[in-house]
């Protein structure tokens, strides 16, 4: 209970504690163009972000593991329209330490991250890996959180919704200066690659956008921007409140009035179709009773897929059944409606327990345009690992094992996948934690390198060197004692002369000789 409380306090402390304002920010935030509605509603509640979302809480001198067979990288998945976005498994450990001979990972310190190279888009049948199995990403709820009177000291960061703002740099010019923000997700996805970085300035009005910035629905208005701090009158950030993943597709195609589709114990009936109005009435029937009736449509092509109202007009949901009127390639044909229906759907809700493993809380990661960028699963309770013990990741998808601790040093530990494939020994005589970056996705392979890449490289090299020195010393001291088998750097092998290459050079010599012979004969004759 205490740990739960600490988890909540730690999470809440990250969140700027100002209450949601009475101001109607839906009239203040800028849409993409005049007349276009905001795609996401303004949030009416605060939900604490996961612990360690701030930049200062990144892993410290972490070990790096590029991947394991059971934690695949760059795995292409499919959607219903031929797109094949790569997916990445990520594992992170933050703020771990050694205490009384045990390794301690605080609540929120262990994070699994389903990462993606491109945004996950609803209504397109995109497959999303869910701890080794594939589910279909169907729909989502995103909101815009607005905080007032937010101060970001230079170099530090704050969380607004699911968005992290870091006051990154000040650059002077004569007596003027500009100030740059880095905008990231709670998982660490840096939006610089997609949207650039907002730059504010009170003294260079003709170079930048002044004291206000707009990065889709991440927007803000500063009252003070100095090299010491930025103070925002208000600051908005998107939060992915829920994503819906379904395990089973039960129907995809044209359905006429009167047709019924079975989805587990329910059936979905097409009650009527009004093609002229662009609508279809569906009924969800349980035990002979209609428990849900809904009119789907009409399709508002100009606002799909991200606009919440336009999208929700096409979607119905009841229990673990979800479906929608698919606008592509066309919503209606020959008097029938183009429906997609899924069963065994589950919601991953921001900050709630992960149903598959209650030890973990889940946080979907949102892109401000309205796409999903994977999800995080973080441990709710502190993890303590004695030498020789291990902890399973969510649903046992991976394992963190500590083998040997001496004083405040972790001499041997590793990460392993579900099949038992282990990383090399990540410990060593200079290692004082089990902080980890595993993966090659948008966060582990890209964004986080900006924050901890230098440390990570230095740690990797130094640890290799220290382990090699330790191994050499132990061999000298006790040559009869077998040392633990470790992966050691091997000298790069010289390019071998393959049999094929040897044969090819032989043929070359033969050819030169033969041609020379022919020339010789001709010269002799002439």
């Amino acid at each position: 209970m205490t740990r739960h409380f600490l988890f909540g306090v730690a999470a809440a402390a990250l969140f700027a504690a100002t209450p949601v304002s009475a101001t109607d920010y839906s009239t203040i935030l800028k849409p993409a163009k005049p007349g276009m509605p905001l795609a996401h509603p303004i949030a009416t509640n605060d939900i604490p972000p996961p612990p360690f979302s701030l930049i200062k809480d990144r892993p410290v001198r972490p070990a790096y593991v590029p991947g394991l067979p059971g934690l695949p990288q760059g795995r292409a998945v499919t959607d219903d329209f031929g797109r094949k976005p790569p997916k990445f498994d990520g594992v992170f450990i933050r703020q771990s330490r050694v205490e009384n001979g045990e390794v301690v990972i605080p609540p929120g310190g262990l994070m699994y991250h389903e990462d993606t190279w491109g945004g996950e888009v609803a209504l397109r049948g995109e497959q999303v890996p869910l701890l080794g199995r594939m589910a279909t990403y169907v729909d989502y709820d995103m909101s815009i959180v607005v905080k007032e009177n937010v101060t970001i000291p230079a170099g530090q960061s704050v969380v607004v919704g699911g968005t992290v703002y870091q006051y990154y740099a000040t650059v002077g010019h004569n007596k003027t200066a500009n100030h740059t923000l880095h905008v990231k997700t709670i998982a660490g996805t840096d939006w610089e690659w997609a949207f650039g970085s907002p730059v504010l300035s009170m003294t260079q009005p003709d170079w930048w956008g002044g004291q206000q910035f707009t990065q889709l629905y991440n927007q803000g208005k500063a009252s003070e921007v100095t090299p010491q701090k930025t103070v925002f009158e208000w600051l908005s950030g998107v939060r992915m409140d829920r994503i819906v993943l379904a395990d089973e597709k039960v129907f995809a195609g044209l359905a006429g009035a009167g047709e019924e589709v079975k989805a587990g114990d329910r059936s979905i009936k097409v009650a009527s179709i009004d093609e002229a109005a662009g609508t279809v009435n569906i009924e969800v029937i349980e035990n002979g009773n209609a428990v849900l009736t809904k009119t789907l449509g009409p399709v508002q092509n100009e606002l799909l897929i991200e606009d919440t109202t336009a999208r929700k007009a096409l979607v119905f949901e009841h229990g673990d059944t979800i479906g929608f009127l698919s606008p592509w390639p066309e919503a209606f044909k020959d008097g029938k409606a183009n429906l997609k229906i899924y069963a065994k759907a589950q919601s991953l809700r921001f900050g709630e327990d992960y149903a598959g493993d209650q030890r973990f809380a889940v946080y979907p990661v949102g892109c401000p345009t309205g796409h999903n960028f994977g999800f995080m699963l973080v441990n709710k309770e502190e993890i303590r690992l004695k030498p020789g013990s291990s902890v399973d990741g969510p649903e046992g998808y991976f394992k963190i094992a500590v083998e040997k601790v001496e004083g405040d040093k972790v001499l041997a530990w590793h990460v392993a996948d579900k099949q038992g494939n282990r990383s090399v020994n990540l410990g060593g005589p200079e290692i004082t934690n089990v902080d980890l970056v595993l993966g090659q996705g948008r966060v582990a392979g890209q964004a986080i390198l900006k924050d901890v890449g230098r440390q990570m490289l230095a740690r990797t090299y130094n640890n290799m060197q220290a382990n090699a020195a330790t191994a050499a010393a132990s061999q000298t001291a006790a040559p009869t004692i077998a040392t633990a088998k470790q992966a050691e750097p091997q000298p790069a092998p010289a390019a071998p002369l393959s049999p094929g290459l040897i044969a090819a050079f032989g043929v070359l010599a033969l050819g030169v000789g033969a041609v020379g012979y022919e020339f010789g004969r001709r010269r002799a004759k002439s």
């Binding site: 760059g74 795995r75 292409a76 797109r83 094949k84 976005p85 790569p86 190279w117 491109g118 945004g119 690659w193 997609a194 071998p496 393959s498 049999p499 094929g500 290459l501 044969a503 090819a504 050079f505 043929v507 070359l508 050819g511 030169v512 033969a514 041609v515 022919e518 020339f519 004969r521 001709r522």
Partner: protein, 175 residues
């Protein structure tokens, strides 16, 4: 006498045919692993995980990065030589010319075995040849093909010249 014009035409037809075949059999890779086999790198993919090139450009990028122009040269040389050997064989009645023609065919196949068409060849059991030649650079295969077909052409031309054979005449002109 070397039929230069015929061999040139055969070379061009075979080379262009190979280029066309390469284009027709090219499939835009869908995964990073597939892409690497075709000469692409991670930077060739967009943020959305799709190859940044349209199909024709993607093929050309793969063609040049995989140095398929060497394979084109090898196939052209081998086919031109096969043509010459068959012409010579028709006039000489087989023997060395037939062997030379077969040699040319082997050269063409060896070039194909390390080309981007190699995966197709594995269907007909020729993948093992590609494995043996996997470490051989394509320029070396092209150079060997040039030397061997050059030698074969000179050899057959010498044979034809040293034992002048009557040209085949049709029954109509025999009268």
């Amino acid at each position: 006498m070397i039929p230069v014009r015929t061999m040139t035409i055969l070379f061009l037809v075979a080379a262009l045919g190979y280029v066309a075949l390469s284009y027709l059999t090219f499939r835009v890779p869908e995964t990073l692993e597939e892409a690497e086999l075709c000469g692409f790198i991670e930077g060739d993919f967009t943020a959305a995980g799709q190859l940044a090139y349209p199909p024709v450009e993607a093929w050309w990028v793969s063609f040049t990065r995989m140095q398929e122009y060497w394979t084109t040269v090898s196939v052209g040389l081998a086919v031109a030589f096969i043509g010459f050997a068959l012409i010579a064989g028709r006039r000489a009645g087989g023997g060395a010319a037939t062997g030379a023609a077969m040699g040319g065919g082997v050269l063409a196949l060896s070039a194909l075995c390390v080309s981007c068409l190699a995966p197709v060849l594995s269907v007909v059991g020729l993948g093992i040849a590609g494995t043996l030649l996997a470490g051989v650079p394509k320029w070396l295969i092209a150079l060997n093909t040039l030397l061997l077909t050059g030698w074969g052409t000179m050899f057959l031309a010498r044979r034809l010249a040293s034992c002048a054979l009557p040209t085949r005449t049709s029954p109509a002109t025999a009268n």
